[in-house]
C-alpha cells in the first residue's frame, strides 16, 4: 500500500496511528486517489506545521498538521547525540536519515518523528478526529519527505545546514588526540608468503560487524 520508497517515507504515515488510525482503513485508499487526481494544493511545510488545501467538488478544505519545533538547547543536545557515531553524519551527508535516528535521540529523551500527543490536526470538515483530508495531507507530505529527509528536521525548526554544522561542531569537540608520528617497519621484514592474507584471519574479517 505504501508508495514511499525510503524507511523514513514509509514511517511518516504511521504517525497517524497515534490519532487512532488502524488497518485496514479505506480512507487511505481514498487519500491516495485524491493525491493522484491532483486534489492536494499548496502543500506547505514550515517549522511546526504542514498545511495544504484539499480540493473537492464544491468545497476546498484547508488542513493543518502541527508538531512542536525543538528549542535551541534541544537541537544542541540532539546534535551531540548524533555526533557520537560518525555513521549518522555519513548518512546525513548522503541525504539519508540515519536508520537508528529514533534510537540515538531517544537516549537523550528527544525525537524527530512526533511522539504520542505531539501531533495535532485541524480540518474544517464535519468528521470528528482523524479525517480523510488529514490522511491525504499526511501522505502527500510523506511522498515529498521521501525525496528530502531534511523536511523532518525542518518541520522541527532546524534545517540541513544547521543540522550538519551542529553535528560537526559536536564531533570536533570530541576529537581524539592525533596519533604519534609513525616510526614504520622495515619493508624487508614483511612476510612475502603471507603478503596478501594473514593465516586464519579470513573468518574474523568476514564476520567483522563494526
Amino acid at each position: 500500500m505504501s508508495t514511499q520508497k525510503t524507511w523514513w517515507g514509509k514511517r511518516w504515515p504511521r504517525t497517524l496511528e497515534a490519532l487512532g488510525l488502524s488497518y485496514p482503513d479505506s480512507r487511505i485508499v481514498r487519500a491516495r486517489a485524491l493525491i493522484r487526481s491532483g486534489a492536494v494544493d499548496d502543500l506547505l511545510v514550515e517549522p511546526g506545521s504542514i498545511t495544504a488545501w484539499i480540493d473537492q467538488p464544491g468545497r476546498a478544505y484547508g488542513v493543518t498538521i502541527r508538531i512542536p519545533p525543538l528549542g535551541e538547547a534541544q537541537w544542541t543536545v540532539a546534535a551531540g547525540a548524533l555526533a557520537g557515531r560518525t555513521r549518522s553524519l555519513a548518512d546525513l551527508l548522503d541525504d539519508r536519515l540515519p536508520e537508528d535516528v529514533d534510537r540515538v535521540l531517544a537516549t537523550v529523551g528527544l525525537s524527530l518523528f512526533p511522539r504520542d500527543g505531539e501531533l495535532s490536526i485541524e480540518c474544517p470538515c464535519s468528521a470528528r478526529g482523524l479525517c480523510v483530508h488529514v490522511i491525504t495531507v499526511s501522505h502527500a507530505f510523506a511522498d515529498r519527505f521521501d525525496d528530502d529527509p531534511f523536511l523532518l528536521p525542518f518541520l522541527r525548526g532546524g534545517d540541513r545546514a544547521r543540522l550538519l554544522s551542529d553535528v560537526r561542531a559536536a564531533m570536533s569537540s570530541i576529537a581524539p588526540p592525533p596519533p604519534p608520528a609513525p616510526v614504520g617497519v622495515a619493508a624487508g621484514s614483511l612476510s612475502a608468503k603471507g603478503f596478501y592474507a594473514v593465516e586464519d584471519a579470513r573468518d574474523a574479517l568476514t564476520a567483522w560487524a563494526g
Binding site: 560518525t86 551527508l93 622495515a186 619493508a187 596478501y196 594473514v198 574474523a204 568476514t206
Partner: protein, 634 residues
C-alpha cells in the same frame, strides 16, 4: 604480476590528515574491479608500495575518505573480495560506528593492506596506519572540506600577475584566479564559459603560471591541436610545447619535459593510453569535454585513467542543464563529487528532470557551484566588444573523409595541366572539396534521404543553432551554395522543430526578399534566416539577428565582413556573435590558418577570393588540399 583481486590500503597525508585517501590497486583494470564491487572508482594516481619482490611504483585509484568509507562499510563480503579489502571494510565499519571496534584489527592485516612507503625502505606498520586512518576519518567528517569555500572565494578575486602576453578581460582574470585555486588544491573542475569567451586563454594562463616539475597534458579534438599550439606560442612563448600527434610522436615518457605542455588528440589518448597514463601530470586539460558526455564510452574511460594533480574540463555547452552530461564530465574532473551514477539519477536527475524539485535543484547547485564556472556572454557583455568572432572546429565523418581523399587523389593523380585548363580544374577541385566538407549530399547531388550523421559540420551547426533558438536569439546563416542552402532549410526545420526555415537566394524576387527581411526583423518569421552569400551579402538590414554563421568560407575577409555587417550595423543594440565553421584537417582549416596568421598579407595575396590558389604549383596545392591525419567522427 599484479594480484588478481582488488587490494585496498590507506594513503595518509601527513601535512593535512583530512586529505588522506583510500587507494585501490591490483588487477589489470583497477577501476573496473572497484566498480564491480560497488566501490567508487576514484582517480588514478601513482603510489609507492613495498611488494614482495621489492618496492614498486603502482598506479592506484585514489578515493577521498568521504566517498570511500561509506562504500567500504557497505562492501559485500565474498570470494571475490581480498583480505586487504576486508580489513579496510572492517576499519570503515569501526570508524563509522564505535571506535573501540578497531581494536584487534591490526594483527589481521596482511602487508598488502598497509605496505605504503613511509620513508626510504620503511613502510607504515599495520597499527600505525590504522591509527592514522581513524584520526583522518574523524577529522574529515568533523570539519567540512575547505576547498569549496576556497574556490568560491577565488573566483571573486582577480588574478594579479597574469603570465600571458595579452591583457585578459576582468572576467578572464576572475577565471584565471579560480583555475589557479583549483590546481593549488589539487582538485578538478569544469570551465564552461560561453563559446568565444576565451577558455583557451584562461587555461594557458593557468599552465604558464604553475611552477612544477611535472608536464601538463592538453587533450583536444584533432582539428584544434594546431590551434592550441599556436595560441600557446602566442600567449605564453616561454612554455615548451610538445605536440603528441602524428606518426613521429614520442613513444617514451621522457619526451615530456617538466613544465612542458603536451598537446594530443582524443584519438591518440585512446591509442597511446599506456604511455600517457605512465606519466604523473600536473594539470590535465580536456578541451571540448562534451566528447566524454557518454560516461560508458571508451574516450571517457581513457580520460579517467590518466593521473594528474589537477583536472580541468573545458566545454561551451550549458552542462548544468544536461544532467547526464554534467555527471559524466564532472566524474572526469572531480570523480565522486556527484556520487555514483545510479545514486545521482535517483537523488538529482529524477527529481529535477521529472518534477522540477526545487530542493534537489538547490542541493545540486550548491554541490557543483565551487567546481563549475560558466559565464554567459550576456553576463560579461560590458567586458566584450560589439562583435565577437570565433572559429568553430568541425570534424569529418568517415564518409566525408573517404570522399575527400578520393577526390584529392583523383585530381592530383590525373594532373591538373597548365594554363587556362589548370585554372578551371583547380577551381573545380576546390569546389568539390568544399562541398564534401559541407555535406556529402551536396557533393553527390542527392535530394532525398536523411542528412544527420553524415557531415560533422552539419551536425555541429544543428547543435549550435538549437542552442541559439532555445535561448531566444536569432541567427543569419550564410552559404555560397544554393543547393546547400536548400538542404539546410529542410534539415533545420525538421531538426529544430520550426515550421520552415526561409532561404533568401538569387532566385527570390525583389518583393519576396523584402517580405522575408521584414518578417525576420519583426519576429513573425522563424528565428533562422538562410542567406546566399551572393544574393544577400550586401544591402540588407538584418539587425534582428545577433548571431551570424558562415557555413562555408569565402576566403576573402572583405566579403565575409560585408555579410556579417548585415547584422552588425547601425540599429543593432546587442553584441553580434560571428561563428565561422572550419573542418579540421582539410583545406578549410589551412586557408583559415593562413588568413589568420597573415591577415594583412592575406588581404594582399588573396585578393578577390580563390584566384590565388589556382596559381599555386602542384606541391603547394597538394600541401593545401591534402587531408592531414585527422580525427574522423563516427
Amino acid at each position: 604480476m599484479p594480484p588478481k583481486l582488488l587490494q585496498a590500503t590507506f594513503l595518509p597525508d601527513r601535512t593535512d590528515p583530512s586529505r588522506g585517501r583510500m587507494a585501490w590497486w591490483g588487477g589489470d583494470d583497477t577501476a573496473e574491479l572497484a566498480r564491480r564491487r560497488g566501490l567508487p572508482e576514484g582517480e588514478p594516481g601513482w603510489i609507492a608500495l613495498a611488494l614482495p619482490d621489492g618496492p614498486a611504483r603502482t598506479l592506484a585509484r585514489l578515493v577521498p575518505l568521504l566517498q570511500a568509507v561509506p562504500a567500504l562499510a557497505a562492501l559485500a563480503t565474498g570470494k571475490q573480495v581480498s583480505d586487504s579489502a576486508l580489513v579496510w571494510r572492517a576499519a570503515a565499519l569501526g570508524a563509522l560506528g564505535e571506535d573501540s571496534a578497531l581494536d584487534g584489527l591490526a594483527p589481521l592485516m596482511p602487508p598488502a593492506a598497509h605496505a605504503v612507503t613511509l620513508d626510504g625502505d620503511t613502510v607504515w606498520s599495520a597499527a600505525e596506519l590504522l591509527a592514522a586512518f581513524r584520526h583522518a576519518v574523524h577529522g574529515t567528517y568533523a570539519s567540512p572540506s575547505k576547498i569549496p569555500d576556497a574556490l568560491l572565494a577565488a573566483r571573486e578575486r582577480m588574478a594579479e600577475r597574469v603570465p600571458v602576453e595579452a591583457v585578459p578581460r576582468p572576467y578572464q582574470r576572475h577565471g584565471i584566479a579560480w583555475l589557479g585555486a583549483v590546481a593549488e588544491h589539487r582538485t578538478g573542475a569544469i570551465l564552461a564559459d560561453d563559446m568565444g569567451l576565451g577558455k583557451t586563454l584562461q587555461t594557458i594562463a593557468l599552465l604558464a603560471g604553475r611552477s612544477t616539475t611535472r608536464p601538463h597534458l592538453v587533450v583536444c579534438p584533432t582539428s584544434v591541436v594546431g590551434n592550441w599550439a599556436r595560441e600557446i606560442a602566442r600567449f605564453a612563448p616561454g612554455l615548451r610545447i610538445v605536440r603528441h600527434h602524428g606518426p613521429g610522436r614520442a613513444s617514451e615518457a621522457t619526451a615530456f619535459a617538466p613544465g612542458a605542455v603536451v598537446i594530443t588528440s582524443y584519438s591518440l589518448l585512446l591509442r597511446d593510453l599506456a604511455l600517457l597514463s605512465d606519466v604523473d601530470w600536473e594539470v590535465l586539460v580536456l578541451d571540448e569535454a562534451q566528447q566524454i558526455k557518454n560516461h560508458t564510452g571508451q574516450t571517457a574511460k581513457a580520460a579517467r585513467a590518466v593521473p594528474a594533480r589537477a583536472r580541468i574540463a573545458l566545454t561551451g555547452t550549458p552542462v548544468e542543464n544536461r544532467l547526464a552530461e554534467l555527471w559524466s564530465i564532472m566524474d572526469f574532473a572531480n570523480p565522486g563529487l556527484l556520487g555514483p551514477h545510479k545514486r545521482f539519477a535517483k537523488r538529482f536527475a529524477e527529481p529535477i528532470e521529472l518534477r522540477r524539485d526545487p530542493g534537489a535543484t538547490a542541493r545540486l547547485r550548491e554541490l557543483i557551484a565551487p567546481y563549475l564556472l560558466r559565464r554567459l556572454k550576456s553576463e560579461v557583455a560590458t567586458d566584450l566588444p560589439a562583435k565577437l568572432e570565433s572559429t568553430v572546429a568541425c570534424t569529418l565523418t568517415r564518409e566525408q573523409a573517404k570522399l575527400y581523399r578520393k577526390t584529392v587523389k583523383g585530381a592530383l593523380d590525373v594532373g591538373l595541366g597548365d594554363g587556362f585548363e589548370r585554372h578551371g580544374r583547380v577551381l573545380a577541385l576546390l569546389t568539390a572539396l568544399k562541398q564534401i566538407c559541407n555535406h556529402p549530399a551536396q557533393f553527390l547531388g542527392e535530394t532525398e534521404g536523411p542528412l544527420t550523421g553524415r557531415s560533422g559540420k552539419l551536425d555541429r551547426v544543428t547543435e549550435m543553432l538549437g542552442e541559439i533558438v532555445d535561448s531566444g536569439d536569432r541567427a543569419l546563416v550564410f552559404t555560397q551554395y544554393r543547393k546547400m542552402g536548400e538542404l539546410l532549410a529542410g534539415h533545420l526545420s525538421a531538426e529544430l522543430d520550426l515550421p520552415r526555415v526561409p532561404f533568401l537566394h538569387g532566385g527570390v524576387s525583389g518583393t519576396g526578399r523584402e517580405a522575408m527581411v521584414d518578417a525576420f526583423q519583426d519576429g513573425s518569421a522563424p528565428p533562422i534566416l538562410l542567406v546566399s552569400l551572393k544574393a544577400g551579402g550586401t544591402g540588407l538590414n538584418l539587425t534582428a539577428a545577433n548571431h551570424v554563421v558562415h557555413y562555408d568560407r569565402w576566403w576573402n575577409p572583405a566579403v565575409e565582413d560585408q555579410a556579417t555587417d548585415r547584422a552588425h550595423r547601425i540599429g543593432q543594440t546587442r553584441r553580434v556573435d560571428v561563428h565561422k565553421l572550419v573542418t579540421g584537417g582539410t583545406l578549410e582549416e589551412r586557408v583559415a590558418e593562413l588568413l589568420e596568421r597573415k591577415r594583412s598579407l592575406a588581404d594582399a595575396i588573396v585578393g578577390t577570393g580563390e584566384e590565388w590558389i589556382t596559381r599555386l604549383d602542384d606541391a603547394g596545392l597538394r600541401a593545401l588540399v591534402e587531408l592531414s591525419e585527422v580525427e574522423v567522427g563516427e
